[in-house]
Symmetry: C2
DNA sequence: GTCATTGAGGTCAAGAACTGGCCGCTAAGG
DNA sequence: CCTTAGCGGCCAGTTCTTGACCTCAATGAC
């Protein structure tokens, strides 16, 4: 407890929670002489974590950005926030960071005390799925359990709901997680079928690590993502939406925010471009903008919006009967 | 570099990135004898981070959940994911964790190498606001800068857009950040007006820490959140939505997900309850469900939906001309 | 300008901690 | 039965750490 390593860690922690620390206070907190504190600070600097110091009355130490990120010392609440934030990031509203979010999440979850896990579970019910209509939400527990099995090269058992709805028990050697178009896939070697398969994580339940470790096999594909793509014929239908809106570009842009691009066409007219998986979003945005518009494409959107219009008018007792 | 503390940190890092580590490999990576490795592991255990070990062929060490969270050693990509996830968490879709998310975010951002900040900035443009129509998105930079100033008790300068749109330069002693109903407020002592004020973060721009530190004053209120509540008369209009949907509860629930509650009313009928800030959401959900419905309240929703219906039908060339 | 405060860093000697061998032991799996 | 791997005691040599004392350099207040 009175180690040097322990003190280094505590110093790191103190420097992370509060920016400025007067030297005397630090040395007192750590229970060492000021001279030793200076040496500890030097040690941190040698480790690559720059500590800048200010002299004179009211001076003190502070941790500055360095070449590498120092170990993060977080308290319980921060850990919970971290886990939840990472889960949202993993669910994929921001392209390209899902994989690393899951890696980080796995790290955190693995060492998280049970009491914190319970708090996260309690908060889960409050959480909303990341993006509406963008595919099924997957259980964070499933995600982390599978990620951990991949990372640690442990065989995995789970039940899988095939396309026809049939439930089967699986026993696999997990290879890699792939995030593709808002869906998570597990690439694994199926031990009962003796073949490589990819599994959709949202159809996977009750993952349980068996504890058996294995030596990774070679995947018969260039890369895990490529393998998944091979197996997927039915990519989620993507629509390229183009709409002429009879409103100033600024106004549309404010409503659309970052969901799509808005080009100015005229004084009071602009072109809205979006690429979406479902048509609910564009319909909602067009409603929210509150201006007239002309749908350039796709035709499905026209039909979709017309159906909404007819129904909305009908049920609210407006004109345009059935 | 060849320190004991350094080795402890590296060991911690290794144990976090991969679950099982055979002892020999660890000792080789750390450049010490197996005997010393055992002692290092003991050290970690004494620090409160349980390392469980497995004997026998194929044994190894692994980091287990303990009483406290060990310092997290994350790589660059994970740090980026972390920052982005925390930002989403701070923007507030999950109740109650915003404050700790900001605290954690501040910690991370403070020590993050510039190259990572640039990557986050690059990704920001791709990010979507957490919840649509739920209030203005605030800049993450503003949020962290202000949070840091609060934490470090440093005076802060910024420009503030008052309710009437006028821009003023402010100089304050920041006290605390409060997240209230999807909005962030800064409670601070205004140095020019010599009075406590609360500022909406979305109206605050160009925060710059002056570097001057100050001794915290006593806030003339029970608590910062209470102080903000005192000053806010105009709470964001909240609607309690109630709709009878002519569809099975299960189907509606699937569409609504966790945005609201769905009660079964009959075989083919259910009641949808939501509390929302804006009416776009319920309108969209009702559209997406694809069934008829009766709006019980509020009346604004009826008008809102009717307007959408009329416009949608008109612009798509359906019936019900202007 | 003077002065107190605070960080930087050299040196030293005593003491503590660390290290790498060596040992025998237990546990797990082939 | 044998191998591998973790556990921990012991020991001797080495290294590191610590606090004390010192001088110097910034810095801000008076």
């Amino acid at each position: 407890m009175a180690n040097t390593s322990s003190r280094t860690l505590r110093l790191l922690s103190l420097l992370q929670t509060h920016r400025y620390w007067p030297g005397p206070e630090l040395s007192e907190r750590l229970g060492v002489s000021p001279r030793t504190l200076r040496r500890d600070v030097d040690r941190l600097r040698e480790l690559g974590y720059p500590v800048v110091a200010h002299r004179g009355v009211d001076g003190g130490y502070q941790l500055a950005p360095g070449a590498a990120l120092p170990p993060l010392v977080v308290d319980d609440e921060e850990a919970v926030a971290l886990a939840i934030g990472l889960r949202m990031a993993a669910q994929g509203t921001v392209a390209g960071i899902e994989e690393s979010a899951v890696r980080a999440l796995t790290k955190v979850v693995q060492v998280m005390p049970p009491r914190l896990r319970r708090r996260i579970d309690a908060l889960r019910s409050v959480t909303v799925p990341a993006a509406w209509g963008a595919g099924p939400t997957i259980d964070a527990d499933v995600l982390t359990a599978v990620a951990q099995a991949c990372r640690d090269e442990e065989r995995l058992r789970f039940s899988y709901r095939a396309r026809d709805g049939e439930l089967t028990a699986r026993h696999v050697e997990p290879h890699r997680l792939v995030s593709l178009g808002r869906r998570w896939y597990l690439v694994a070697y199926d031990l009962t079928r003796h073949a490589w398969r990819s599994f959709r994580l949202d159809r996977l339940a009750d993952p349980g690590s068996t504890g058996e470790r294995f030596r990774p096999r070679d995947l018969p594909a260039e890369d895990a993502a490529a393998f998944v793509r091979q197996g997927i014929n039915t990519m989620p239908a993507a629509y390229d939406v183009e709409v002429l809106v009879h409103a100033p570009a600024a106004r549309v842009r404010a409503a659309v925010s970052r969901w799509g691009t808005v080009e100015e066409v005229g004084e009071d007219r602009c072109r809205l471009l979006m690429t979406v998986d479902g048509l609910e979003w564009p319909a909602m945005l067009l409603g929210a903008v509150g201006a007239d518009f002309e749908i350039v494409g796709p035709p499905e959107l026209t039909a979709f919006v017309r159906e909404w219009g007819a129904r909305f008018l009908r049920v609210t007792g407006g004109a345009a009967g059935v």
